[in-house]
């Protein structure tokens, strides 16, 4: 596994995958237990027009993705206030509209070639600025998760109890969603718009099979994300497959391996919070 990583491009890709793995792996455990898998997929798809617009205008992709997430979140918030429209429906309508808009922009004849790559990511093409921004975001997310750990754990366990201690459950939800937006920003460049969810859900679901405590689960999830990420890069290097897709495939393989290795620490189903 050392061979491919003597190549400077692969070294940068490994750094990128590590940053994505640290954010996605750690936060993914909260995504699962706060019932936010659907929300993370929606946020990722909803920011697509922002990503495409940034590419067309030559702005940093992270900036476009950030603006895209804001627009998507605002759209969902407004749409779910329309009487008779449930939150799930509002999310589905807004996100498919935004994603369609992004695809329309990306596939128009005026768009430069290669822009479709935004859908599947370009883990090998991260610039110094991209890496530095991702690194900063990843550091911020890790620090926030460390600071908020006890409170997030209490809210996820028993919301009424948390409220009785003066911990706002809504603030905890908002914190996890904000961090989720940050992690998607870190991951979307390398993994692409369609595959970034894989890093948020795959390693965490794998770790959940192997651990029944939150903190070890998060560390395990990060380890799975980074190792499977590196394995995916190797696969891509030797088999000539697309890097982002190979990494996503490695996450799925890790999950299947854990699920069928016979050791299930906790039941598989997680009910979504109301």
């Amino acid at each position: 596994m050392i061979g491919p990583f003597s190549d400077p491009i692969m070294q940068r890709a490994l750094l990128e995958v590590t940053l994505v793995g640290v954010c996605g792996g750690a936060l993914g455990c909260w995504v699962i237990f706060y019932g936010l898998s659907y929300a993370s997929e929606s946020l990722a798809h909803g920011l697509f027009p922002g990503l495409v617009a940034a590419a067309l205008l030559g702005l940093p992709l992270l900036l476009g993705a950030g603006a895209g997430i804001l627009v998507a979140a605002l759209g969902v918030a407004v749409a779910s206030r329309i009487p008779g429209v449930g939150r799930n429906v509002a999310v589905a309508v807004v996100v498919t509209f935004l994603f369609g808009l992004g695809v329309l922009l990306a596939l128009s004849p005026a768009s430069p070639p290669g822009i479709q790559g935004l859908l599947f990511g370009d883990v090998l093409g991260a610039s110094d600025t991209d890496l530095a921004l991702s690194g900063g975001l990843a550091l911020g997310i890790a620090a926030a998760l460390w600071l908020l750990h006890g409170r997030l754990l209490a809210v996820g366990f028993d919301r009424a109890f948390a409220r009785s201690l003066g911990i706002s459950a809504a603030a905890a939800d908002a914190a996890v969603l904000t961090l989720l937006a940050g992690a998607i920003l870190v991951g979307v460049q390398g993994m692409g718009n369609l595959l970034v969810v894989a890093v948020l859900v795959g390693p965490a679901a794998t770790a959940r099979q192997l651990s029944s405590r939150m903190a070890p689960m998060m560390l395990l999830s990060v380890a799975v994300a980074v190792l499977a990420g590196a394995a995916g890069l190797c696969l891509s290097y030797y088999a000539g497959t697309a890097a982002g897709a190979s990494v996503a495939a490695a996450f799925v393989a890790a999950y299947l391996l854990a699920a069928f290795s016979g050791r299930t620490a906790l039941p598989l189903t997680v009910e979504e919070l109301p």
């Binding site: 009424a160 689960m217 997680v270």
Partner: protein, 248 residues
Amino acid sequence: MSVLAEAAGLSAGYGGVAAIEEVSFRVRPGERVALLGPNGGGKTTLLRSITGEAERISGSLRVSVPHATVPQTERSRLDYPVSALDVSLMGSLAGLPWWRQPGRRERATAVQALERVGMVQLAGSTFGELSAGQRQRVLIARGLVQEARLLLLDEPFTGLDASSSERLETLIGELATEERGILIATHDLEQARRWDLVVCLNGRQIAFGPPGEVLDLAVLEATYGGAIVEIPGNGGMGILPPHHHHRP
């Protein structure tokens, strides 16, 4: 003697609609107070009005000491990745600013609380894998870590076998002697008779006082809506469970 909590003419409920009315009672240190009433009679609403989850509509309610709720454990998620110690430790968050994690001192307090409720050997066990009685005791430990002097137990005996019930009742008795007040929602009339005070609720308060004085047939019928039977032989009375309730 000081009063831990006192209600006078309290109406409380949700969204402006009262679920309980005319509730007046008092809890002093060392007292175990049973909340009796049918399902939907307002036992949980009364507990929630103390925690602030239900709104006070009229009357007064004064709670003068820190309190903690021991909820029915099916409300807690049993697939959640926490140990008994983690749950006990959650009680310490009340006294910490938001940026601080529980440290060594808080951990020692949480272990001590588990010891107090007889759960220290199982401190490392996953909460969801404990028995219902063990989970109740862990949640009581969480309340002790909160330094609560008023404990609110919502049907803690539901789903417990005889020996777990007995252990829990002994623990409740011990905690009361340590100058705590304990409010316990229960369906067990015989248990309530062993405690210090009862509040009978059926939408409104039917009675409040020592069980020996208060629990007569008229009060029980008003509380449970007539489904009271005398148990032949032992001179006691029982509540006819709803699923045995035949209407012509």
